[in-house]
Amino acid sequence: MLDPRPAAAPVISARGLTKVYRMGEVEVHALRGVDLDLFEGEFVVLLGASGSGKSTLLNILGGLDLPTSGSVLHRGYDLTRAGEAQLTNWRRRYVGFVFQFYNLIPSLTARENVALVTDISRDPMSPEAALELVGLSKRIDHFPAQLSGGEQQRVAIARAVAKRPEVMLCDEPTGALDVVTGKVVLEVLDRINREVGTTTAIITHNAAIASMAHRVVTFADGRALEVRRNERRAGAQELQW
């Protein structure tokens, strides 16, 4: 098993992140000072109940949202100082996203949804190769509406991985799926992490998934409460929930 070297420099390094939303008259503290590093080749699970601030953290790490205070460095490049256009460019080059609801473009086939990314990336995989990687070679010309939830999520993963991102950020990737399909999706993510070496962070409220990770960060109330290292990473098929 390939273990990331803790000594290696982090790919992404967040320090002192806070995020305050204002909802009407109420201030919501989604993040209350979070420090987190994602290391090269690492598979990290961010675990927490809904409302614990983990989605907010993921969005900030991926440059989809800006923190109220704190910094996010990608190999020394401070995302919190980047403008809108720079963030867009940064996402385009370095980050792959997988969302709970897949967010595929309904009017495009599986191949075209992946092409959406390869069209704008430097040195991407071919859409066919990316779909092969997630085991969907046979459904390549299907529209999202013709695919099951698990298949849609695998297309989303293919779309994320096709650009050969440095980091893959997955927000409840199995949240909308049943156990069997969920496991298939996790297996795909695991295989990509192992074979391509993409740094992968999954956020979930499902504690069972944690055993797949190199490292598990538990969230509650906007803070990282605990960081745990798994001695042995479980395979996706071993998971039970």
Binding site: I105, A115, I120, P144
Partner: protein, 786 residues
């Protein structure tokens, strides 16, 4: 093809009906604009080139009989570049295919024949041989209607003798694009002929050797009619001159100008409104479509697409719709405009009348649509990209619903779905309002497009039923003693006779002046009545002048004000007269006086220039024959003919325009309602599917949406009627015609029609939406979030 372009293509195909509806809306907006304005510019251009190539005169004057040498005095007047004299005679003409006589204007030909001002266009045949009597050219419209060809014969009483006239050629003249028969307010190609004849022959027949009674002028570049008027009047006064008329008072030009002005004002207002409404809808629809894709936009952003690229993507959607709409619109506009010009071809006698789409107009229409579409799309895209992608991907936070006083009272009476309907409408008032406004605009443009028919019916009713009650009108060449009335009364079939004294005048009030006629009538005229504002006959006061309310407005006069009346005949006195009353007339701008008062003004005894006859229909043809034997009568007009001609010309053009505009308006209306409902369906599909999932039946769920649509429609109806009324008001204000005035009159039928069309559109839309709801894939809708 790049994936994003494929997305665009697929979405366009997926939304094809909606897109088609918007394309139709834009197309109709562009088409009505292009059709009306291109028709106008084509007609204007044709007229301008016709006038230029035929040396259309700048001014006209007539006299009783002036010696030829007077022309040198006229030419010496500063500002007069050319003056050409001629002889013009009115006469009645027997035509084989018509029981009643036509009225003809016999005009002498210039030498050389195809020279000078108002140059004739010989269409068929040849010019009359100089000196050979009985040879005439006939105006083409008259010849066409009566199938006259070179070689045919006409007969007329000339100088007391019945003469045979041989048609040798057919011609067009810029002076008689419209030929208005004497005594008629309306051009009538069927009953009014222009004949041209060799000058010497004509002079011999009417004892006009060495003299003229009509003169046409070309003015110098900087000269104006006003400048030369006094001098020309002075020169011609001893010879019975009766005033100089510029182009603005020349019968044909005036009518042409009026038609063009109307076309321009209709063409500028109605289609601009249509285009505006189409643009508004395009804007609204696109922004809602884009807003519906906010999660897709967020996903694209997350994948690394920049705001500009996303903006361009949706701008392409907008531009595609605009491009299709523009192509359709310019195409339809060309067809519609050509159809309109074709209609005018029968009516505007130009030698060349070619329709061309006006490039600048088409570009303007397309640019307005493109701007509206782009603004709509870009505003929506900006709204979507403004949100951080993370937030945009979450479902929008539930809107804040509450219970206002209104809904609270209402809710007690409503079921749960009823409450949803009420709250949805009340809690997003802006959306409700915009939807209703869209529908209201469609109602309004249908009203604006078709109300003129109501107004026209009213004009016809008032003018031809209430005011004019005679059957036949006879005109004299000069003011004659009223003895002729006895002669007329004795003719077969004549039930009633009324004399008329029509005096040409120029009215002056402060800075304003206007050339028109004063009609002298009896105390209680039976055959030509005056109608007041209440549409009832009014009595002519003993003294003072009654003018039409529009003329009073133009001269800035009120009852009790004094104005100067310049008499354009006899001793041409200027007399001060008081405005004694106003009449509500829709045709023409004349003044009316008691015959006794007018006599005093003119300083003459009982004289008349024409007579109105009520005729027994059974003896009509007999009467026509006999009328021609009355030497005093040089023109004969029929009320039914004027009515018919009004119906055939103005009404036909109006009706065609109305039909074209109504079709466009209906298409726009259907497009609006359909799109509104479809977008509402997309926006609400999750909510509706949820209801289905928790146990509501299809009928109940569609009920909610359909009720919402129905409520929007109900809200739109009064608003639409009001907007329609306002648009009609605007259009009427834009129509500035001397020939007739449109009252702001919208019949309940028009309101019902407009509301009906939109309601039917709503109903059909509701059915298609209902089908969509029936096929709503519950699980998919709830599971995936587009």
């Amino acid at each position: 093809m790049r994936a994003l372009d494929r997305k665009l293509l697929r979405e366009l195909i997926g939304m094809r009906w909606q897109i088609l509806a918007i394309v139709m809306v834009v197309g109709c907006g562009v088409a009505s604009y292009v059709a009306m304005l291109s028709a106008h510019s084509s007609l204007s251009r044709s007229r301008a080139s016709y006038y230029a190539e035929s040396n259309f005169a700048d001014a006209w004057a007539s006299a009783k009989r002036a010696p030829d040498a007077v022309v040198h005095e006229l030419l010496a007047i500063p500002g007069v570049a050319r003056a050409e004299t001629r002889i013009v005679q009115l006469l009645t003409l027997d035509v084989a295919d018509m029981p009643e006589p036509a009225s003809a204007r016999l005009v002498s030909l210039p030498t050389p024949l195809d020279s000078g001002l108002n140059r004739l266009h010989l269409r068929r045949g040849r010019w009359p041989e100089p000196g050979r009597s009985g040879e005439v050219l006939v105006s083409e419209p008259f010849a066409n209607i009566h199938s006259l060809a070179p070689g045919d014969q006409l007969s007329s009483v000339m100088g007391g003798r019945r003469e045979r006239l041989r048609v040798v050629g057919i011609a067009l003249s810029p002076e008689y694009v419209f030929s208005v028969p004497a005594g008629s307010p309306w051009p009538d190609d069927k009953r009014s002929a222009i004949l041209w004849m060799d000058r010497d022959v004509l002079a011999a027949a009417f004892a006009m050797q060495g003299a003229f009674n009509d003169v046409t002028f070309a003015l110098g570049v900087d000269a104006s009619v006003r400048q030369v008027t006094d001098a020309v009047d002075r020169v011609l006064a001893p010879w019975g001159g009766n005033g100089v008329r510029g182009r603005d008072l020349q019968g044909s030009h005036r009518f042409l100008e009026d038609e063009l002005a109307q076309l321009r004002s209709m063409g500028a207002t109605v289609p601009t409104i249509f285009l505006g409404v189409a643009a508004f809808l395009l804007n609204a629809v696109l922004s809602r479509i884009v807003a519906g894709q906010r999660e897709q936009i967020a996903a694209l952003k997350a994948l690394g697409y920049g705001n500009i690229r996303i903006g361009v993507h949706y701008a392409e959607l907008a531009l595609f719709v605009v491009a299709c709409g523009s192509v359709l619109g310019v195409g339809l506009g060309a067809v519609g405009g050509a159809a309109m010009v074709d209609l005018y071809r029968d009516f505007f006698r130009f030698p060349h009348l070619a329709f061309g789409v006006d490039g600048a107009t088409a570009v303007t229409a397309v640019a307005i649509s493109a701007a509206a579409g782009l603004i709509g799309a870009v505003a929506a895209v900006r709204g979507a990209v403004k949100l951080p992608p993370a937030e945009a991907m979450r479902p929008p936070t539930p809107q804040r619903y509450g219970r206002g006083v209104f809904t609270r009272a209402l809710e007690r009476a409503l079921s749960q779905p009823g409450r949803m309907v009420a709250r949805n409408l009340a809690r997003s008032p802006l959306r409700t309002m915009l939807s209703s406004l869209g529908i209201a605009f469609s109602i309004a443009i249908i009203i604006a497009g078709s109300f003129s028919q109501d107004a026209l019916n009213h004009v016809m009713d008032v003018s031809f039923q209430r005011e004019q009650r005679y059957d036949v009108q006879g005109g004299c060449a000069d003011a004659l003693s009223d003895g002729v009335l006895h002669e007329l009364r004795a003719l077969p079939g004549v039930l009633d006779v009324e004399g008329q004294r029509v005096a040409p005048v120029r009215l002056h009030a402060g800075p304003h002046s206007y050339e028109t006629v004063i009609v002298g009538m009896g105390a209680e005229p039976r055959l030509r009545r005056l109608i007041g504002a209440d549409l009832r006959p009014t009595k002519l006061p003993e003294r003072g002048l009654v003018v039409t309310d529009e003329l009073a407005r133009r001269l800035d006069l009120q009852i009790g004000d004094e104005l100067e009346v310049e008499l354009l005949e006899g001793r041409r006195r200027r007399v001060s007269v008081e405005i004694a009353g106003l009449s509500t007339e829709m045709l023409g701008l004349s003044g009316y006086m008691r015959d006794t008062a007018l006599r005093r003004l003119l300083g003459e005894g009982p004289r008349l220039t024409g007579a109105l006859l009520a005729v027994d229909p059974r003896q009509r043809s007999e009467l026509y024959l006999q009328l021609q034997t009355v030497p005093a009568i040089v023109s004969v007009g029929m009320r039914s003919a004027v009515f018919d001609i009004f119906n055939e010309t103005t009404a036909r053009i109006q009706t065609t325009t109305t039909v074209i505009l109504s079709i466009f308006a209906c298409v726009i209306a259907v497009g609006v309602v359909y799109n509104g409902a479809r977008i509402t369906l997309v926006e609400r599909s999750r909510e509706l599917a949820t209801l289905r999932v928790i146990g509501f039946t299809r009928a109940e769920v569609s009920g909610i949406l359909l009720w919402e649509l129905a409520m929007q429609l109900l809200l739109a109806i009064p608003l639409g009627c009001l907007l329609g009324w306002l648009l009609a008001l605007g259009i009427i204000a834009g129509v500035d015609s001397e020939l007739y005035r449109f009252p702001l009159l919208i019949s309940p039928r028009t309101y019902v029609f407009a509301t009906g069309v939109v309601s039917v559109a709503g109903f059909i839309t509701a059915l298609t939406v209902r089908r969509k709801i029936d096929h709503l894939d519950l699980v998919e809708v709830l599971k995936t979030r587009e």
